[in-house]
Symmetry: C2
Subunit: 232 residues, 2 copies
């Protein structure tokens, strides 16, 4: 069942319901944000947890709170995987997540706060209303930024030696190529050079690892649905 | 459909499925923890979100992450209601939740981090592995403790003037009445007297407010199911 130009929210819901029933389909990803009047969460909740491969439906997010996840949002898995790969301080350490979005900041905070294989960290969730970022980040050894605000993190708020995993993604005009856009993260890499313990780049950091994690989740979904194996 | 002594997990699941279908039933609470081999979460997930009145099923917890809750666990609502009633510092303030359980600590942290009517706070989730409680609580203006460990909070780790909402509940032998038990919280009230900004008592604090919040949620469930009104 394919969507046509002009189809509305009901057609999207019906399409996802049909994909959920189709035994030849093992994983479904709904790109978002969706424009009004589409309701992303209503649509994705049509999927059974095993097919909701990016783990953003209510049942998958609830199972993440319950520390018995089926699929965890790939971007959160990617941020944790990068931190683990480079042995950044997590277990029992003070860790900050800047941004409280449903599909990125909060799932990442829950994953970092979970017992192993989660981050097992002491996690602080900050958001645009919890100002005074410098004071609140003072004790953080690893910072995950998921806001989408270029230049948010620099020497004025990142503690010297702290590690930054940059989950932000924004487009800004390219100063060297008028009319072109550059992809940038939340951190100012020039300001943090020689100051932060480490900084994951944008582009080329969390983004490609997210794609890899999503493919891994897709294989797990197939295993679960076809072979009856557990997803986790 | 009533459960009989000797019934097992399958009968519990069947009972909840039956209650979920019964139009004369508007709200169901499953007491927990359940002894093995019962699986509390598997059982409660048989309920539609509107009937899962304590908001502990995966769909309700997921909708809390999604900041579009149907029912929020009553104990989390109660802790927030007490903090609001006494005008404790929350909005944009450094707030700590000690304990990361699925039914208490994590839902409370999510509710405190949510935009209004949530707490809109900068929330730190601490747990038994994030030691050095004193250092981690240093900047907290309001502390919610949900561990169930008597004497956990005293002058050595609560900052002077900080407010403590005590969500912990434990039984200890009553020194004045041999053979009897006393209900106590996580905080040591004698140690914090004249030190903490305020301390909610145990018993007589979060407990009775939780009962009131559960009754309020039950009325909302009835309104939603019978009148078709939104729950929130």
């Amino acid at each position: 069942m394919a969507l046509e130009p002009g189809d509305g929210p009901e057609e999207l819901v019906a399409t996802l319901r049909s994909l959920d029933r189709d035994p030849a389909v093992h994983a479904v990803l709904v790109e978002h944000p969706l424009p009004a009047p589409f309701d992303f969460f209503r649509a994705v909740d049509e999927l059974r947890p095993e097919k909701d491969v990016d783990g953003v439906g209510a049942r998958n997010l609830g199972r993440l709170v319950g520390q018995r996840p089926v699929h965890v949002p790939a971007v959160a898995r990617a941020a944790l995987a990068i931190a683990r790969h480079y042995h950044l301080p997590l277990d029992g350490e003070t860790t900050a997540v800047v941004g409280r979005s449903t599909t990125v900041g909060l799932p990442l905070a829950l994953l970092l706060a979970s017992p192993p294989p989660g981050g097992n960290a002491a996690v602080t969730v900050l958001h645009s209303r919890s100002g005074e970022l410098a004071r609140r980040l003072a004790g953080a050894r690893t910072i995950f930024s998921c806001v989408g605000r270029p230049g948010l993190l620099d020497r004025t708020n990142v503690p010297e030696g702290a590690h930054v995993v940059d989950v932000g993604l924004s487009s800004v005009p390219d100063p060297d190529r008028p009319g072109s856009q550059l992809a940038v993260g939340d951190a100012d890499p020039r300001a943090l050079d020689g100051w932060a313990g480490s900084l994951s780049p944008v582009p080329g950091g969390v983004g490609p690892v997210t794609v890899a994690e999503l493919m891994a989740s897709t294989v797990r979904a197939w295993r679960s649905l076809v072979r009856g194996e557990g997803v986790a």
